[in-house]
């Protein structure tokens, strides 16, 4: 089989070494409805997700807020225990490990958080925050720790003299650099970035994204890059995975997804992306506007979870759950979970209007404003 790739990208495609293998992971959060509530309801945050990642790759994970992508990130980094399924990191199943056994693995698996304000302890100085990785994992002299921390600060573009400042004395972008420095400290092989730029100004987003890219090249990093915005992901990812209500609905090489997405949900997300790039403008379809709200993950729709909002939904979709599989004509590695995948040139926007009339729900809503 040929290596997947919908077009030549300048970025490294990753090696053949399998770094991460996520196998049918499920995470249900029990809903406590008080002592009188005897029902065993659960938020099905992640409901059977599988994917794998090779060293050096960047996987973009996209979906609306509440689709379970942040939970998935925390399952992959073993911050939450899985309800079922397996996560193998460098061939080792990390879902069965206890905290003590996990600790050595933490060195090679780090996370950058979404909120640059919440993820840094407001009562500790930056130098102290950045020395945490060393004091947890290594026994170094104070001078050595200080030297390493200042080295890190310089590497992510902060001035090392600000060692003694509190996080509140930095701007959002600078704080996110601190967060990146912290995750980088122990030279991990995998960094999960949970919407690292969504809290930042657009002008600063690009700086942070460039920094992440430089670091990837320098330290041979593998990224899982989470975003709710396809345009951000496109710049950094080799591959994209689209999530909807706890499930992957489509995954494939970045350019492939952008040029010929097969799932109606992906298509609708893409149609909401403002296109500045001339090359893509010709490909741009009419804007698809989804109707209704995201259903509750406590009680997801039957069959295909997207069917109540899908412009192409038919009777089968409500009954049978589609499998994530390669559709005819797609490259290997481009998988879609849909009974009636989109074909090139199809006009979904018209179909969408029909369903608006059928469902009769509130005002039409854009997925990504």
């Amino acid at each position: 089989m040929t290596v997947a790739g919908g077009g030549a990208t300048s970025r490294a495609e990753g090696t053949d070494e399998l770094l991460l293998d996520v196998d049918d992971v499920v995470k249900h959060f029990p809903v406590s409805g008080g002592a009188l509530d005897r029902s065993h309801a659960a938020v099905k945050a992640v409901d059977g997700v599988s994917f794998s990642l090779r060293a050096g790759e960047t996987l973009g994970l996209v979906g609306e807020s509440g689709c379970g992508k942040s939970t998935l990130a925390r399952l992959v980094t073993a911050l939450h225990p899985v309800t079922s399924g397996h996560v193998r990191f460098k061939g080792q199943d990390i879902t069965s490990l206890n905290r003590r056994q996990l600790r050595p693995l933490r060195r090679s698996m780090q996370m950058v958080f979404q909120d640059p304000y919440g993820s840094l302890n407001p009562r500790r100085r930056v130098g102290s925050i950045l020395s945490d990785p060393f004091s947890v994992h290594e026994h170094l002299s104070r001078a050595e720790v200080r030297r390493r921390v200042q080295e890190l600060m310089a590497r992510v573009g902060l001035s090392p003299e600000h060692y003694n400042r509190f996080p509140s004395e930095f701007s959002g972008g600078q704080r996110q650099r601190i967060g990146i420095a912290r995750s980088l400290a122990l030279r991990p092989s995998l960094i999960v970035c949970d919407e690292p730029v969504s809290a930042l100004d657009v002008s600063i987003q690009a700086q942070i994204l460039n920094l992440l890219e430089d670091l990837q090249a320098e330290f041979m990093l593998t990224y899982i890059f989470i975003a709710h915005d396809l345009s951000v992901v496109r710049h950094v990812s080799n591959r994209i995975a689209v999530m909807y209500l706890g499930k992957l609905v489509e995954t494939g090489p970045t350019e492939e997804i952008y040029l010929s997405s097969r799932h109606p949900y992906t298509a609708s997300l893409l149609s909401a992306v403002p296109v500045a790039d001339r090359a893509f403008r010709s490909e741009r379809r009419e804007r698809i506007i989804l109707t209704g709200d995201v259903p509750s993950p406590v009680d997801p729709p039957s069959g295909c979870r997207f069917h109540p909002r899908c412009p192409k939904a038919q009777a089968l979709c409500a009954v049978q759950e589609p499998v994530l599989e390669r559709k005819p004509g797609d490259f290997d590695g481009h998988l879609t979970a849909c009974h009636f995948p989109v074909v090139a040139g199809e006009a979904l926007a018209n179909a969408s209007r029909q369903t608006t009339a059928v469902s009769g729900s509130g005002p039409a809503e854009a997925v990504n404003p």
Partner: protein, 346 residues
């Protein structure tokens, strides 16, 4: 933001109380709190009084030597009138008069401040230690441990402190150490519950998750990540707990269960003034220890209030905004909007 100079900050602060939180964030938390506190005149006066009181109690022997009257010396000729009545304030060199045994009330008040501060501050520190540790564990681990510790604190809080103090002192006999122990035993749950609540909200913050992602142990997360965020809360409520504990000590001593005579404590001085209705002939003997006690508790309460405003600006602001909302709700009646009153600090 960090480039903004200090004098510019001042101006912003004067103009818009809503905006300055962000501006304030660009300074170290402690220095900002101190700057806010310095503006609070009532709190600063209280702080001054407390510092003075601490100095007085530290230098008690020196001060009484200067006055020339020891706290327990009985001046039967100079300090009592011929009929055995205590000498009033200002007579025979007794600035605040004497008590029924001819002892200098001022010297005794000075020595009594030692007891009050020792017990008040000592018991508070002990309570703080217990409360923070238990609150940290209960709040951080949650679940069964939390419900057991939470219930335990609830039970202790619903117990009448004084009653149990009575029971314990009755059984083991009064002593200063026991007094501190008993008072802290029943005041720590107060801190413990506050800390627990705070920890429950802190443990969900991303920086705790970040520490976990680094592989930090629970103890490290509790004491390195969470504990520094509790300092403001602990300082505020310790300051408010000190006067409570001082009053408890005075009350126990008043009931004869605390500091035993002849050692002077404000509580037992008041009790001595009450025996045989002596205070009706010698009011100073009652009034001056009372004044000392009330001023001390008042100073700590006012300082605590000021600290709360200074260290936790959200607290003060929430009340201001509540007041604003009320006005907004009732403004429906009026056709013309009333001018927004300036939110002056009380």
């Amino acid at each position: 933001m960090s480039a903004m100079r200090a004098d510019e900050l001042e101006i912003v602060e004067e103009e818009d109380p809503e905006l300055n939180e962000q501006q304030f964030e660009s300074r170290t938390p402690w220095r900002l709190a101190w700057r806010r506190l310095k503006k609070d005149r009532v709190a600063m006066v209280s702080l001054g009084f407390i510092v003075l009181l601490i100095l007085v109690s530290l230098f008690a022997p020196l001060l009484t030597a200067l006055i020339g009257h020891g706290p327990n010396a009985q001046y039967t000729t100079k300090g009592l009138s011929l009929s055995g009545i205590p000498v009033g304030p200002g007579h025979n060199g007794f600035l605040l008069g004497t008590d029924d045994q001819g002892r200098d009330v001022l010297s005794r008040i000075i020595y009594g401040s030692r007891i009050s501060l020792e017990v008040g501050i000592g018991a508070t520190f002990l309570a703080l230690f217990l409360g923070v540790v238990v609150g940290l564990f209960a709040g951080y681990y949650g679940g069964f441990l939390d419900s057991v510790l939470g219930r335990f604190m609830d039970i202790l809080l619903s117990f009448p402190i004084l009653l149990l103090a009575i029971a314990i002192v009755a059984r083991f006999g009064p002593s200063l150490g026991l007094l501190i122990f008993v008072i802290s035993l029943f005041s720590w749950p107060y801190i413990g519950r506050l800390v627990r609540g705070q920890v429950i909200s802190l443990r969900e913050r991303e920086f705790v998750e970040a520490a976990r992602a680094l592989g930090a142990s629970d103890l490290r997360i509790m004491f390195v990540e969470i504990a520094p965020n509790l300092i403001a809360l602990a300082v505020i409520y310790a300051t408010l707990l000190i006067p409570v504990n001082i009053v408890t000590e005075a009350t126990l001593s008043f009931l004869g269960l605390g500091v035993q005579p002849p050692t002077a404590s404000w509580g037992n001085m008041i009790a001595e003034a009450q025996t045989g209705d002596l205070f009706t002939v010698a009011w100073w003997f009652l009034v001056f220890p009372c004044v000392a006690l009330v001023l001390t508790t008042l100073a700590f309460n006012l300082l605590g209030d000021g600290l709360r405003d200074a260290l936790d600006p959200r607290y003060g602001r929430s009340h201001i905004s509540a007041a604003r909302k009320v006005r907004r709700a009732f403004r429906l009646r009026r056709t013309l909007p009333e001018p927004e009153p300036v939110e002056a600090k009380a």
